[in-house]
């Protein structure tokens, strides 16, 4: 079905101008439909697994919303931050304490103000954007809530924005965060599920704008339940000398796909994308990253690791495009994959498109099992085969986590990640 028909009970917020944008997005969806195997960017990710579970009208939110005990969510309690909770895509005001001196509103409240046009840019689709697809169009057509924040010029946020998205019902969520000149902030997006047995979709788009000399550290932690489907898009636009760091962790959901699109638009901008997937069972995890070097003297770093067990399947596609004028580009990409089971599968593809000669671009991919020499070394010191394997697996993945500067997040992710793998207990003091 290629026509998005919102549920009659689902009132889509926004004034007439916004409704026009929604209709345009619905039109874009009608033309493109869901991505399929014919799309090169979706060759290894079969979205029909989602439609099979959610049905023809996959975008609809179920009417019977299950009540969730909000006091009992698997949030990271040790994080000292400005916490906001979105329950099935709806902002829960009473749960959240908002910082002063920073403009911050849930999208739903912003849209409720008739004269507010500031949210409109979030809904305006650019169909020529890299990795554009029908799911993103559906997000624009149907999004009802999300986080909208604006960190003013020179504001250094003292604590991270900790945004928890609880998904046990289908939700289309649209987030926007702007950092003013010289501003500095940390955003933690934490996607969690509940024990609900019903399949649902989290369709999340996050737009980030970094003004001159601003710095954003972005944690994107996907730990939804194994019945959940997760579709994400992160779009970053960076002005002169801005710095963006992403820590993307994929542990949950049945099928999770994220498109990370970074535009290094002005001189001296830099980004670092760190990714860790730990998958088991029949999980499917796919990240397509796209970094555009559109200006001179920009720097990009990308380091993704996957640990795959059972029959899990991961996809990593890292595309880097260096424009003609982007001289003195400095780019490095690395992707390591550890297959713990012979039934696990990784499809990995670095893609470099370089249109000038004055660049430094390195990339490397490894796919394999644990290193035999390292295993023997540990065993020769008295560690059992199983212990040695655990330790090496942990160390392999932890190379991504050491880059995290919030200790509470790191140790939370370490515990969650290795609880998924067989016999990964007693991790205290295991690491450097």
């Amino acid at each position: 079905m290629s026509v998005l028909t919102p549920d009659h009970k689902m009132k889509l917020p926004g004034g007439p101008a916004l409704q026009t944008l929604r209709q345009q997005a619905a039109g874009a969806y009608a033309r493109t439909g869901l991505p399929g195997k014919r799309d090169e960017d979706w060759k290894y990710t079969d979205i029909s697994r989602m439609t099979a579970a959610l049905g023809e009208s996959w975008w609809l939110t179920s009417e019977t919303s299950t009540a969730t005990d909000t006091n009992n969510l698997a949030t990271i309690d040790a994080v000292d931050g400005y916490k906001m909770i979105f329950m099935d895509g709806r902002f829960e005001a009473q749960q959240s304490n908002l910082p002063s001196g920073v403009q911050l509103l849930p999208l739903s409240e912003l849209l409720a103000k008739d004269d507010s046009k500031s949210a409109h840019c979030l809904f305006k689709l650019d169909e020529s954007a890299p990795l554009f697809n029908g799911l993103l169009a559906a997000n624009s057509a149907l999004a009802t809530d999300g986080l909208c924040a604006c960190i003013g010029d020179g504001v250094q946020l003292d604590k991270p924005l900790y945004v928890v998205h609880v998904g046990n019902n289908t939700a289309h969520t649209l987030n926007g965060l702007m950092l003013g000149k010289g501003a500095k902030a940390t955003l933690i997006e934490h996607f969690i599920g509940t024990d609900s047995d019903t399949a649902a979709l989290s369709n999340i788009a996050t737009y980030l704008r970094l003004a001159e000399n601003s710095a954003l550290t972005h944690y994107r932690l996907q730990l939804e339940s194994d019945k959940q489907f997760h579709i994400g898009r992160v779009e970053v636009k960076q002005a002169r000398d801005s710095r963006y760091t992403l820590h993307a962790v994929e542990l949950g959901s049945a099928l999770s796909r994220a498109d990370i699109v970074v535009d290094l638009a002005e001189t001296g901008a830099s980004c670092a994308l760190n990714g860790l997937f730990v998958a088991s069972g029949r999980q499917h995890i796919d990240h397509h990253t796209r970094i555009d070097h559109n200006a001179p003297h920009c720097r990009s770093r990308e380091n993704y690791r996957t640990v795959l067990d059972g029959r899990s399947h991961a996809v990593f596609n890292g595309k880097i495009v260096v424009a003609e004028g982007a001289i003195k580009t400095d780019s490095a990409q690395s992707n390591g994959n550890l297959l713990l089971s012979k039934n696990a599968e990784i499809d990995t593809k670095p893609e470099l498109e370089i249109y000038n000669d004055d660049v430094k671009c390195a990339h490397g991919v490894t796919v394999g099992q644990l290193d035999k020499n390292q295993l023997f070394y540990l065993k020769s010191r008295g560690l059992s085969e199983e212990e040695a394997r655990q330790l090496l697996t942990f160390a392999f993945a932890d190379e991504i986590l050491v880059a995290m500067d919030i200790k509470a997040v790191r140790s939370f992710i370490e515990k969650e990640a290795f609880a998924k793998l067989p016999n990964m207990s007693d991790l205290e003091g295991m690491l450097t």
Binding site: Y377, L378, S380, G429, T432
Partner: protein, 275 residues
Amino acid sequence: MKQTDLWKSASKAQWDKGMTMIKIENLHASVDGKKILKGINLEIGAGEIHAIMGPNGSGKSTLSNIIAGRDGYEVTAGSITYKGKDLLDMEPEERAWEGVFLAFQYPVEIPGVNNTYMLKAGVNAKRKHQGEQELDAIDFMQLVKAKAKLVELDQSFLSRGVNEGFSGGEKKRNEIFQMAVLEPSLALLDETDSGLDIDALRIVANGVNHLRREDRSIIMVTHYQRLLDYIEPDFVHVLADGQILKSGDKSLALELESRGYDWVKEEEADRIKAA
């Protein structure tokens, strides 16, 4: 006395000075179908230090690796008996629990695995195997700090990844440090002197000399005589073409240093001719 205690004290007494620690009989081994060891016979008593010298490709490292249990070596004939047990029947970690230690020629780097954590896991696995109580974190740190001093290893190395970013000399010192912590009955030092400058060599040798005990045997595999200036062996063996061609005391090492290995091979050839 309980029966287990009796057994334990008996087993301890068994490996005192003069008793056989390891006995290698007619050992033949191949790598990828190529014969490397062609009938090694060697018996080492408790408390003894043996040096195995020989030219490149003679099979020295193969012998250490087979004793430690590394994959990829096929033993085609012969046996190794260690403390009265069939060594070749044990997994590498079981050998470690029984007191075998290999100081690697090329210690691997294991980024992300904490040096101290690895050792604590190793020590406690061994203690558990021997029916002793596992060490807690505090006791273990005390042990480790004392042993680090022995090889003048900076304490910052303890919390780093195993050999991660260590220089060649630091890696070798780390090996001897690990030996000190794991307290083996049989230590194999595989080319421990290679890549060391004279100061590092002295430190490493000092560490080893401190670890000499009546119930501990040491096999040093080396190219060069200079290590033996610092660690004095009881016996020296010449390994060439997969066989031990000559054995003697430390004066043999000096002779090898001045005359090279060829005369040993010629002597052997003459001996075969005469027979």
